[in-house]
Each structure stands twice: as structure tokens, then as C-alpha cells.
Amino acid sequence: MQIAFYIAAGVALFATVMTITRINAVHALLYLVVSLLAVAVAFFTLGAPMMAALEVIIYAGAIMTLFIFVMMLLNASEQVIEAERRWLAPGIWTGPAILAAILIVEVAYLGWGAAGARTGPPIGPKEIGIALYGPYAIGVELASMLLLAGLVGAYHLGRRKWPRPEVGDDINTGERRAYFSGDAVRAGDRRSAGAPERAVPIDVHRDHA
């Protein structure tokens, strides 16, 4: 049982180091997902099966999906799409796939009910539910308010028809320019960081439909 924890921890460490050292953001995201899965296996060995499941479902399943979607929204220009085709080449998947295979073998070896042999019986959903309805009821309400605030904020910030200021607002030319260099997140083979390739004047009335 202890070796399983160390394997999971080692995979998590390696995946996290790979996350922060990748230049390509999509590669970093893949390794981050593997890191989250490895930490979920570590939770499983520590006797927290419900948190392991929630980590996989919510963290790796919802939050990372959101990250990947936003990353793909930001890089939806023509120059980047063919770079993305290079990113998603089969060779890229081998690193995270090997790490994930280690985790799968480990989970299969552990079985479904053999968790927590090191530190006692696993703390299941029942105890967590009792704690949430009991001493932590206020925390649950606060978390719901936080999620409501996050929902409203994200909706408001993500609206399409953002009221733009008047055209004469710019201090230099009275015309707004967007320096769209093509990829918001580095595609991995850019020589000049941040230098604008072409200046595209943005039409102020385009989004007002």
C-alpha cells in the first residue's frame, strides 16, 4: 500500500514538473491533467475515496476542460490551427499516456475496497456528509454564494455585446488598433516574443450588430 502512494506521488511530481517546463500551453495542460489524476490516486491510497472521485470528476473533468476550451478559443486563428495540428500529433500523447498507464495499473492493483490500509479505514461519503450538514453547514452556504458570484461574474465578463467607448477615445489617433500577432499562447516556434506582426484596425461597430 505504501508503494502505491509513492508511485502516485512520483507520477504527480514528474507530471507537475513537466507542466511548468513546457513551452506549449496545450502540452502543459495535458501534463497537468495527468498530475491531477495522480493526486487523485494518492487520495485513494490515503483513505479518501470520495475526494479522489470528486477530484477526477470536478478538477480534471470540468476545470481542466474549461482551461482547454479557453486555450482553444484563444488560439483560433489560421496561423495557429496548423500549428495545433502539429501539437496534437500522436507523438505528443506518449508522455502523458505513459504516466496515465502507470496510474491505471496502480488503481487496478489496489482494487476497489483496499484503500487506507496505512492510516486506518477509509473515510467515506457518509462521514463527509454528516460533517457537511453539521459543523460545516455555514461553509456550504458560503461556497454556494461564492459559486453564484462566480457564475454572475463569468457571465457578465463573457458577454458578446460589450458596450465599447466612443471612437474618439484613443489618445493618439482616435482609432483603436488591435495588434493581433496570430497566437495568444506561444505556438513554440516564435522568434520574437510579443512583437506585432500586423496591426489590424478593429471595427468599433462590428459587434453592435
Partner: protein, 68 residues
């Protein structure tokens, strides 16, 4: 992404503590960390999208002026 790593690391510390003393409090704390991370990610990514839509790139030095 680094914030997610840090939140995950803190959550792991909470789970380990809850497991050591055999109390569900560690897992409850991780649940709250999870909810907070979800809210923060959604708002943060919405801000990033707005910045990209406004400046055309994700260079944070572009957003150094207050107006516009």
C-alpha cells in the same frame, strides 16, 4: 495553471492531515477548495478572454494603462 497546481498541493496537505487524524474535516476542506478553484477559474478565464479581446494578445504588459 500554476494556481491550480498550488491549490491542488494545499488540498493534498489537507487530505493527508484528515487521513492522519481520521477525521472528515480534511476532505471537507478539500471540497471547499474545489468549489473555490472552480469559481476562480471561471472568472479568471473570463478575464483572460476579455483581455485578449481588447488587446489582441495575452501580453500582460499591454494592460499597464488604466484607461481603455
Amino acid at each position: 495553471m500554476s494556481i491550480e497546481i498550488m491549490l491542488n498541493a494545499a488540498g493534498l496537505a489537507f487530505i493527508v492531515a484528515g487521513s492522519r487524524w481520521q477525521q472528515p474535516d480534511g476532505q471537507v476542506m478539500f471540497l471547499f477548495i474545489l468549489a473555490m478553484a472552480a469559481a476562480e477559474v471561471s472568472v479568471g478565464l473570463a478575464v483572460v478572454l476579455r483581455l485578449f479581446q481588447h488587446f489582441g494578445s495575452l501580453d500582460s504588459d499591454r494592460a499597464s494603462e488604466m484607461k481603455g
